[in-house]
Symmetry: D2
Subunit: 437 residues, 4 copies
Amino acid sequence: MPGLKVVVIGGGSSYTPELIDGFIRRAAELPTAEICLVDIPDGQKKVRIVADLARRMVDKAGLATEITISFDRQAALSGADFVVTQFRVGGLDARARDERFPLPYGVLGQETTGPGGFAKALRTMPVILAICRDMAACCPDAWLINFTNPAGLITETVLKHSRIKCIGLCNVPIHMKMNIAKLLEADPHDIFIDFAGLNHLVWGRTVWHKGIDVTAGVLDKMLDGAALTMKNIPNLKWDGDFLKSLGMLPCPYHRYYYMTDDMLAEEQAAAAPGGGGTRAEVVKKVEERLFQLYQDPQLAEKPAELEKRGGAYYSDAAVSLISAIFNDKREIHTVNTSNRGAISDLPDDCVIETNCVIGKNGALPLTVGKLPPELAGLVQHVKAYEILAVEAGVRGDRGKALQALANHPLVPSVGVAKQLLADLLKINAVYLPQFRD
Amino acid sequence: MPGLKVVVIGGGSSYTPELIDGFIRRAAELPTAEICLVDIPDGQKKVRIVADLARRMVDKAGLATEITISFDRQAALSGADFVVTQFRVGGLDARARDERFPLPYGVLGQETTGPGGFAKALRTMPVILAICRDMAACCPDAWLINFTNPAGLITETVLKHSRIKCIGLCNVPIHMKMNIAKLLEADPHDIFIDFAGLNHLVWGRTVWHKGIDVTAGVLDKMLDGAALTMKNIPNLKWDGDFLKSLGMLPCPYHRYYYMTDDMLAEEQAAAAPGGGGTRAEVVKKVEERLFQLYQDPQLAEKPAELEKRGGAYYSDAAVSLISAIFNDKREIHTVNTSNRGAISDLPDDCVIETNCVIGKNGALPLTVGKLPPELAGLVQHVKAYEILAVEAGVRGDRGKALQALANHPLVPSVGVAKQLLADLLKINAVYLPQFRD
Amino acid sequence: MPGLKVVVIGGGSSYTPELIDGFIRRAAELPTAEICLVDIPDGQKKVRIVADLARRMVDKAGLATEITISFDRQAALSGADFVVTQFRVGGLDARARDERFPLPYGVLGQETTGPGGFAKALRTMPVILAICRDMAACCPDAWLINFTNPAGLITETVLKHSRIKCIGLCNVPIHMKMNIAKLLEADPHDIFIDFAGLNHLVWGRTVWHKGIDVTAGVLDKMLDGAALTMKNIPNLKWDGDFLKSLGMLPCPYHRYYYMTDDMLAEEQAAAAPGGGGTRAEVVKKVEERLFQLYQDPQLAEKPAELEKRGGAYYSDAAVSLISAIFNDKREIHTVNTSNRGAISDLPDDCVIETNCVIGKNGALPLTVGKLPPELAGLVQHVKAYEILAVEAGVRGDRGKALQALANHPLVPSVGVAKQLLADLLKINAVYLPQFRD
Amino acid sequence: MPGLKVVVIGGGSSYTPELIDGFIRRAAELPTAEICLVDIPDGQKKVRIVADLARRMVDKAGLATEITISFDRQAALSGADFVVTQFRVGGLDARARDERFPLPYGVLGQETTGPGGFAKALRTMPVILAICRDMAACCPDAWLINFTNPAGLITETVLKHSRIKCIGLCNVPIHMKMNIAKLLEADPHDIFIDFAGLNHLVWGRTVWHKGIDVTAGVLDKMLDGAALTMKNIPNLKWDGDFLKSLGMLPCPYHRYYYMTDDMLAEEQAAAAPGGGGTRAEVVKKVEERLFQLYQDPQLAEKPAELEKRGGAYYSDAAVSLISAIFNDKREIHTVNTSNRGAISDLPDDCVIETNCVIGKNGALPLTVGKLPPELAGLVQHVKAYEILAVEAGVRGDRGKALQALANHPLVPSVGVAKQLLADLLKINAVYLPQFRD
Ligand SMILES: [Mn+2]
Ligand SMILES: [Mn+2]
Ligand SMILES: [Mn+2]
Ligand SMILES: [Mn+2]
């Protein structure tokens, strides 16, 4: 067996060393002949830095994996076994704009949730569908592992509008699991969480430790808020009465829905003159520092500073997923996949984030059934927004775009939705060919 | 046939002459032997005024219908054929408090929608279930026609927690139909609207005029806002792009969801010192005037001023519904009834507002099927709140009450939900036996 | 208003005078300018006889309705408002073959149920879809009222594979209703039956008389079997224990499923030498007699003998349906229409037979919801057969045809299904262009 | 850890050495302190023989597992971790009667399918529910692993009418998987089959070999019939056209539905004087021989002859399932469990046979979604029978029992259903306390 070809779209990302590290750690089970980093010409400098570091890492590990660079996507995709998408249309500058344009309306600015996530989705849809067309031509049997945010929406776009085999991935579920293991001082392998919901809106319905339901105890420990947060989300404390009456674990991103006012205040403070800047602006500085480190010819491993970037367990989630497919492991991962009836309260053809058995034949979701009303209402409302968002973004339909925003639980009125839509179409015009007349 | 016995719970309401007028106008098809006005001892003065006026009206019409008064509910219910509930626990004072307590949190204060409606629902549930127990004992085969708001929630309470035959009624759908007929200069009998949704959250999906789909034209005419408003709802204009992309008719109450910010501003202005007061405060003055008029021994018909009270078509909806049941007409009315699969996106056992065939065997909903995402998300979110609200209010469960409020689309955060809940439990303590320890 | 144009495909049928009689009786509410009888050239003689009788009937009634004949379907369809299909591909000879070919395998031979109905459906599908294409070109807004059997399957074919507005009609429900009225000595207008199921597999779930549930009493009266039978179905007695435990009214055709063995014995006796012949063979004689009568130039009304033909209430069902549409009556008829969620246990896009509100905008099914297991199992099994039958017949797919027959509850094994399929494809080869290689 | 206590109800079964063998082979992963064989006093002799053999087997394996015998069920259940039910109410004599009483009516006689299975289910329900009551009292947290046939129906009875944690198990799926592995000359671990359906009515929808869909190839190899049969089912050949158009793998028991006529002929021939006797009669001889062998004090392993008994892979299925629970393995087994939405076409609360992730928290079904019509019709029909059968058997309701039989696809008419019911109630009267007046 000659080994796998893995193509990374957005190869010049600062996350790539994390991913390379994952392939190195699982080299025994995952024979990787080539990792091809694809990027756009503008990203040339960064991708070369990353590729050089990757080569040093591979060498140090004594592996023969070839690290290549390509600016010709179709050529790169030929013969690919797995395609990982981690690109960001418009880069961190566009993300910073996503985080700022809703604030004047008193609306959350966030990369994946709310109007910012909608803008990012609209920018990404034409590109991801172009990648799918290239894959259909060059590697129709390859698996697309999508990390590009908003991961649920983009995976739904791919599964509804192409025939490419695609699984969407986010590090939130694994993050929750690992942190709960720490909270309980337990081996992560002994923890099983009944995850169900949407990307960045996923609940842990029950936490099992060695088959015992320990949910109530975990909720108690979550109350200080620190327990289950992530680098990129303000660490606001949970309310005890609320968690207890919910009886299930929200994910860190739920704060945008459950603590909207406080999260907005945090964002507004950060975005104000003299504040720390939005998350994208912080990340830009982290990235500059990272790329300086990456250029050090002595560096042959991912630097500790990478952890600040916020992608904990990213490589673990990605490479273990790829290995589960490649080795037909039929083990359970929490991924974004087509519903197919798993959650009875949502349409069959929409994308959900849930526990799936992963093997060579893809992701088979475990049955969730009906959700309790505490979860169903919010998740159905957000999914309605997502369905409208995919329709709007794929067809370039302004009416559907207005409906999408007006139906987002975080947008307070149709009037504000109209203004947000006008702003985002204007700010992102260069990235939105589908909305040009 | 000796004629029907109709019992009106909350008989001292200023609406009662409207209802009497309806029975008079349909006397030919609805032989009513007795209309018994039931009220609490505190309402003694008002109910006597109303009863006297009702007697003069009946006399003038040359009818033999007996108008009686009772403060003994069980005695009154014995032998009843129809029971109409139009009572208001706590009266207009409690309503005024419902309209005011959310405002300091920047949340809408409204009688039926949002935290105010939740408070009203909690106050009403113990009383309506006590009425149902009395009906089960005294008139188990009688029909309960529920007007008490929030009509959907209260009807759901009755249908889930008693075996009484109940239909919930609101004048919004008939109001929309009559206004559309005016807009189109058409005979109302030639208009058919595919209504579907929840009480005060009902959409006209398609408007048919003599079998022709005229929805787009109606939407055009609605744009000036005046067209389809109601007396009790600020008359804000609809956005043209929004209505066009929605492609369906919102009801007047949808403004609370679609124009939340502007509606809140209206309310805050009205509630501020020097403003006109909240709707309840306005209505109190209207009521005072009405009761002065009612006392005029020369008055033998409903006065024109009653129209200001906001209940247009109220008697028409109520009495024509009662007649459709009594005469087994199998004609279509838009009412609140158990879903039973009519709207596929909502639970079978919840209450919806939709077109039903009405006959002696009750309300048979027409099939709605799946809703488009533009409607589904909001309606599912509100229904999740309603399901939680019924669980909370029937069992007196504070955790479910917090979940209900936190899952209401108009409540911005769990933190605000907690404060609203604390406030409403305190303000309404005397009316909430189920929440006492 | 110039009056309606009604086109009758299969106009030379012996049923046509019944239909004409219906139009005459409802002339006041249904101004019909022209009734155009369309037939194939082979049917020329019969259609002329029928048209002449129809003209005499119309004249006698003092109406101006023009009776025309056409052998050019497209020309006839131009300007049509309603198209009624009552044709029979292959005529009574083909029907007789349908009734005979399953008998040697110990399988029921019947015009609409079982392998005979399957053969008839396969013959009819190419023709009905050609009619739909002609309608799309010549009268795209006309309503297709389909009587052609198997009416449910053919209506499902039209609704799945064309865009023509179509309602399928059968006289079984009205027959049941009228007979029950007779049984109860009640006015038919006071009877309401909760029908639900499929064509020729429809149950009356509850019988209401003036709003009172009288189902149990009707079941008692049904026990002698005579009560609810039809001319064309052997009149076998129902079992009392069975009806009582079912608690719902089967339709006369249910005997093919519930009394399969006895019905088969009846058929085999009739088909044996010296027996009375199959139903088609009996009907042929009735028809000969009818056409002799029809030729009598003195005859100006439908002859009493027509009742033996088995189409009682046929014209009533048809013309009152057309009038309900034309006059936007929104009254309830029991018809075949797209499910759309009305029966939760069946696919949304399949055709069911159920109570619908009929108006100018078509048929709106009343909500049925979930069926009890006593009904669900059989109806789901038969519907699976029907779905496969439509797929098989439209695409000419032998594999699907085998699956259809093998999944029919009346076919005892795959081996027999294969033989039946081979036989029917051979016998009907001339009518099955879609199965030619 | 002191080791597990496993209680085997029906411990005197000839299958027990198979089960003991399984525990021995998995002793490393499953520390079993005690296996308690429970039986009724009548089975005393057999259970002692089996226990002695089991002790010799355990000794030979060098294990400390204690083999105990009990005739006091409650005492035996105290402290149990797993309860395995493999009892047979009425023994092989009752089974023989089940196999014979339908034959005179031309209806299949079979232990689990059709009227024979219905009789067995009715006999078993009172006993299994009594066991559940004992478990609730003595070992409420123990798992019930139900092998008692009809395994799906009995598991549904337990899950609907008790709170005991229960998984139903059958060796058909593992048998199919192992045989397919042999057919493909593949390692069973590389085979994954998308099983879905009901017990003894389960289809392999897709067969994956190392992630490649090999279903079509497997269907080709199945055509000779020998491939996937089982010891206890006549080995009739499959029809190639049928399998190809089905495109999925039937299970061996599907022959009773797909080849009803030929299977009936086989049974009638076997049951006739001079035939080989029914399966139960054959098994009785096999069992006699087995118990002779078991008494050999030199025998310390399961004898080769046991394979003739028909329970291939029985111990493998059972013990690997118990180990997956005990060790929280989260690996996939094909078991009988509550649907909960896994198969969209069936009620949420019924029992299905499908792939589940098995861990300490039980069986989580993989999502199946909607079945194609080729499967849906038959499986829905049989499930309707099963739902009625559980209602009939638990409540002792003769009306429901008649409906159950009349709705079974293998019962040709209501008339035959009535006779079958009368016969089975009479023959089994001693075992059917619930049907006594
Ligand atoms: Mn993420
Ligand atoms: Mn209202
Ligand atoms: Mn018919
Ligand atoms: Mn089995």
